[in-house]
């Protein structure tokens, strides 16, 4: 009952304060009136009666106050008063408010955005059932290269022999042509064992997943669509189930649709550059030839009782057994087990964690700034506060009111921060590498937001409370007296605290800038790595010919030769060629073993390995890959199989050191039977897979000798390559109107995407470093500005007794410089210690690179001087007369 009444009274007073007061007044007045009447009845005169009544009542205003305390707005009312007062204070000190709110907002926004991304990538569970039990199983080459694909034969053996996995499925991504209704479209299909969906544990949205029966010999081809494909091409209609479609001109039936956002995209080894949009059965013929090629990825689900380490150990054992059992194929090959999460985000974990560190730093800096600002503001309001205390405000009341101001700041900062975070996340997603799973779905994480808001409120309270308590403890009498302003009157403790805050800010900024500088340098180095080809003005596209139509090898070869003839005749085309896979895009180079004729044969399984590519003479010309020795493919060799190959410099150096490889014969294990080929030329090294790693020995086959059904066209153009794309497409269509092309992009775009991850890291860190520098500059500005304001009297005195304005300027600048130098010094020490954490991300630059450190130190000093300049100028302009006159 009591609480209800209490609340009701409080709310009523909040909205109708005057009525409540009037009510009380009326009652009290009535009381006095009645007493007056009684006095008159007792014989006093009316005036005397009233006076006596008032006197005996006591202090009327005091009683009214006491009564109002009970009936009035109480806590809510004082709160609302505090808020309104606080708002006025903040409006009055506009610069302070603006800077403080922005600082808080930047800290909060940055943190929330990054935390949201980190949460999505590193913490949020993967969209499969029990994702922690899903692992990838890879082979390891004898040379120790990890995450190598497996083969059908090995996969079957693994599946048979293992005891660690509940289920295992092999898969590979391939380009497929979808025809039938609508435009022919090339997309990526994932060929899998039917167990694939069980391993991942995701049920389809519509229809059914692939089932074991689908793999049986006489069954017709079935297909499961992705959500995106279903919406895009089949209008999201449920009637798609059972619909016939043509996949590479092979009739297939749609049996299911997967839920939205379902994908399984392993970029490195099986990726075609894009996530798969449909799933169909991986053919598993029983022929021994089919067992050999290593092109499969393997995903498995651990049994509940088995750990990743145990599974890894078992797989290694099985691999060792296979190495002994089938040495001509498996000698010294091993296997490894990798948790799925690691597969997806392993190589972003470290940079993301570093980013978290960076953002934490920025938040600290922001808090330090806000603390500084609050301290400064509180000190400059000493007089005002002293006055309130003198007028009767209790210490609690004053502290509460100052705290309310901090809260208001925190709220404002948080609101702006939320907006920044939302926008920041969008920006982050836009510039992020495309293959980061989940990132496309990231949104503002509410938990993270709550934590960040909490943090900002704590900052507000702590840094608002400290000065509040400090100020109200001062001897208020002194503050009211004249001449007590200035450095002398201020507690040196608070000044030291401010200086410490600024120095720490600068130190943190140094660390961030150093890190960013190192990354920028790495990035530049990365971009300048000689890739072995010229990516300027090169248009690329992939053409995949359906095997159902072009049944024989010569037909594939002929199509591409004709296409090239047409394309080369186009105006604006300087050169054109074909290759199976572009550098850095869409697939591995099929590493395999080879032997050199005339040399002692290595034991089976111990042959040296080489990468294999398929290209024509035009490819080297278009990409400006130099021919170092010998000759290129001739026209005949590009039309008919002639068993000639080109090798790259790395192959020449590693296996033909001191002799000429031209004319020598090698047998590359790409075919069912031994196939010796003659080396006719050496071409320059090309970095195909990694800018950082060594170039592998590579053998180039001509298309007739090793016929792929798809090839990538490369076209060197006069002007903008993209402009020529429609013309090229027309030429292709003129050969076959139903032939789609895909992945149309310039080589520069391909390179840009390759560098996208490094660019992402660099941009982000650079952004934060910039932010930190900005905040530090603001911090210095604030401190110096404030210092000057307080010392107006002292400076005026100096000027009055003869100091030159210039000397005052220098004085202030020197102070700022001192703070900066201390900060930079500390920061450099910290940077030395911390940048070694970056060493995994650096390329071509040491973690303690002197040049970088020196540059950023100078930069920060310059920025600080600039920030001190304005207050210094203000000091210089002080009118000594005015300063001395008004205390």
């Amino acid at each position: 009952m009591k609480w209800f009444n209490l609340l009701r009274d409080r709310i009523r007073a909040l909205f109708a304060r005057e009525i409540v007061i009037e009510d009380i007044d009326r009652e009290l007045r009535l009381h006095v009136d009645m007493q007056t009447d009684a006095n008159i009845a007792a014989g006093m005169s009316p005036d005397e009666a009233r006076r006596e009544a008032l006197r005996s009542f006591g202090n009327l205003p005091k009683v009214r106050d006491a009564a109002y305390d009970v009936k009035g707005g109480g806590f809510f009312e004082t709160l609302s008063q505090d808020i309104r007062y606080g708002a006025r204070v903040l409006t009055k000190h506009k610069t302070f408010t603006l800077v403080a709110v922005l600082t808080l907002a930047l800290g909060i926004g940055a943190n929330t955005a990054i935390f949201s991304v980190v949460n999505e990538l590193l913490l949020k569970p993967l969209p499969y059932r029990d994702p922690e039990r899903i692992v990838m199983v890879w082979e390891v080459t004898p040379e120790g290269r990890h995450q190598n694909n497996s083969s059908r034969g090995n996969f079957k053996a693994w599946r048979e022999q293992n005891r660690s996995f509940e289920n295992m499925a092999a898969f590979t991504d391939q380009r497929t042509n979808l025809t039938g209704e609508g435009e022919p479209e090339e997309l990526t299909a994932q060929f899998t064992n039917p167990e694939f969906f069980e391993v991942l544990g995701v049920d389809p949205l519509l229809g059914r997943p692939l089932l074991p029966e689908d793999g049986e010999a006489d069954k017709s081809n079935v297909v499961v669509l992705s959500y995106g494909l279903w919406q895009r091409r089949f209008g999201g209609q449920a009637s798609v189930i059972g619909k016939p479609i043509m996949l590479n001109r092979v009739p297939s039936t749609v049996v299911g649709v997967m839920p939205a956002h379902f994908q399984f995209y392993i970029r490195q080894r099986t990726g075609t550059g894009r996530p798969a949009e449909l799933w169909t059965v991986l053919p598993m013929p029983e022929t021994p030839e089919a067992d050999r090629g290593r092109f499969l990825g393997v995903v498995a689900r651990l049994k509940n009782s088995v750990s990743t380490e145990q599974a890894d150990a078992e797989m290694r054992t099985i691999a060792a057994r296979l190495s002994g059992a089938i040495p001509q194929y498996n000698k010294d090959w091993s296997a490894e087990v990798l948790p799925l999460r690691e597969q997806f985000s392993g190589n972003v974990r470290r940079p993301l964690l570093l980013l978290l560190g960076a953002v934490g730093f920025v938040l600290l800096i922001a808090c330090a700034n806000v603390a500084n600002l609050l301290l400064s503001l509180a000190t400059s309001r000493e007089k005002e506060i002293a006055l309130r205390a003198a007028l009767g405000a209790s210490r609690l009341r004053i502290v509460r009111q100052l705290l309310t101001e901090s809260f208001l700041l925190a709220i404002l900062g948080s609101l702006v921060g939320c907006a920044l975070a939302w926008w920041g996340i969008k920006a982050l997603v836009a510039i992020s590498p495309r293959d980061l799973i989940n990132l496309q779905n990231v949104g503002l994480n509410v938990t993270v937001l709550m934590w960040t808001l909490l943090l900002s409120f704590i900052t507000g309270i702590v840094f608002g409370l400290a000065p509040a308590l400090h100020i109200t403890r001062l001897n208020l009498n002194d503050s009211l007296k004249e001449g007590a302003k200035g450095d002398s009157g201020q507690a040196s403790g608070s000044r030291r605290l401010r200086n410490v805050l600024v120095v720490s800010e600068i130190a943190l900024a140094v660390v961030l800038l150093a890190s960013a500088g190192l990354l920028v340098k790495s990035f530049i180095n990365l971009q300048q790595v000689n890739r072995g080809f010229d990516s300027q003005n090169v248009l690329t596209m992939v053409v995949r010919l359906p095997e159902a139509i072009y049944k024989e090898d010569p037909q594939f070869v002929r199509f591409f030769r004709q296409a090239l003839e047409h394309i080369q005749a186009l105006p604006g085309v300087r050169a054109a060629g074909i290759v199976n896979y572009l550098p850095f895009y869409g697939g591995l180079g099929s590493a395999t073993g080879f032997t050199i004729e005339g040399r002692p044969q290595p034991l089976p399984g111990e042959e040296p390995t080489t990468d294999v590519r398929v290209a024509d003479a035009g490819y080297f010309e278009t990409m400006r890959i130099p021919l170092l020795r010998g000759r290129n493919f001739t026209d005949v060799e590009m039309r008919e199989p002639r068993r000639v190959v080109l090798i790259n410099e790395a192959m020449a150096r590693q296996h033909f050191a001191g002799e000429s490889p031209i004319g020598k014969r090698i047998d590359v294990q790409m075919f069912d039977t031994p196939t010796p080929t003659e080396i006719v030329g050496i071409v320059g090294n090309v970095k195909y897979e990694s800018l950082i790693d060594e170039v592998q020995p590579t053998v180039y086959f001509s298309h007739p000798d090793l016929t792929y059904a798809f090839m990538t066209l490369v076209i060197r153009t006069e002007g903008d390559p993209a402009a020529l794309a429609p013309a090229v497409h027309r030429e292709i269509r003129s050969l076959d109107p139903n032939q789609p092309i895909s992945d149309v992009r310039t080589m520069n775009q391909v390179m840009s995407e390759t560098l996208s991850r490094a660019r992402f890291n660099t941009l982000l860190l650079g952004l934060f470093a910039g932010l930190a520098t900005l905040l530090s500059a603001v911090g210095i500005f604030g401190v110096m500005n404030y210092s000057v304001a307080l010392r107006t009297h002292e400076i005026g005195l100096r000027l009055a007794i003869g100091a030159q304005p210039r000397q005052v300027l220098v004085l202030i600048l020197k102070q700022g410089l001192l703070l900066t130098l201390v900060g930079v010094g500390l920061g450099l020490l910290a940077a030395f210690a911390l940048t070694r954490l970056l060493s995994g991300l650096l390329f071509g630059v040491a973690a303690a690179d002197a040049a970088t450190f020196a540059t950023i130190s100078l930069l920060l000093v310059a920025v600080s001087l600039l920030a001190s300049y304005l207050p210094a100028r203000r000091a210089m302009r002080i009118d000594p007369l005015a300063a001395l006159r008004y205390e």
Partner: protein, 128 residues
Amino acid sequence: MPTDSRYDYVSVRLKRSKVAKDKADLLQGTLDMLILKALSLGELHGYGIIQRIRQLSDEMLNVEQGSLYPALYRIEQKGWVSSKWVVHETGRDAKFYKLTRAGRRQLEAEEASWDRLVLAVTKVRQAT
């Protein structure tokens, strides 16, 4: 049912710092009881309550007018009395207070409490 354990004088604990506060609370509680008692005999306005208490105590208890109203408002918030404005006999409006059922129960509790206190103190006083 006593509302405050302060009135449980079977185990008296007088913390030095609380003495003054306890004294004020004791007075507070007593005033509440007097007001409730006065109202138990019929509805009254504030002025009337003071008069009645004076009457009932043969002029010995003169409640300070300033402390009446805050106490009255507090009692009202606790739900022991209710108030309404009525037209006074001389044509003026006056705010009349009436004891509620909860108030009546509180009055009984306070009286019982007070009696216990008096008994205890008397016992102590009578010891030689």
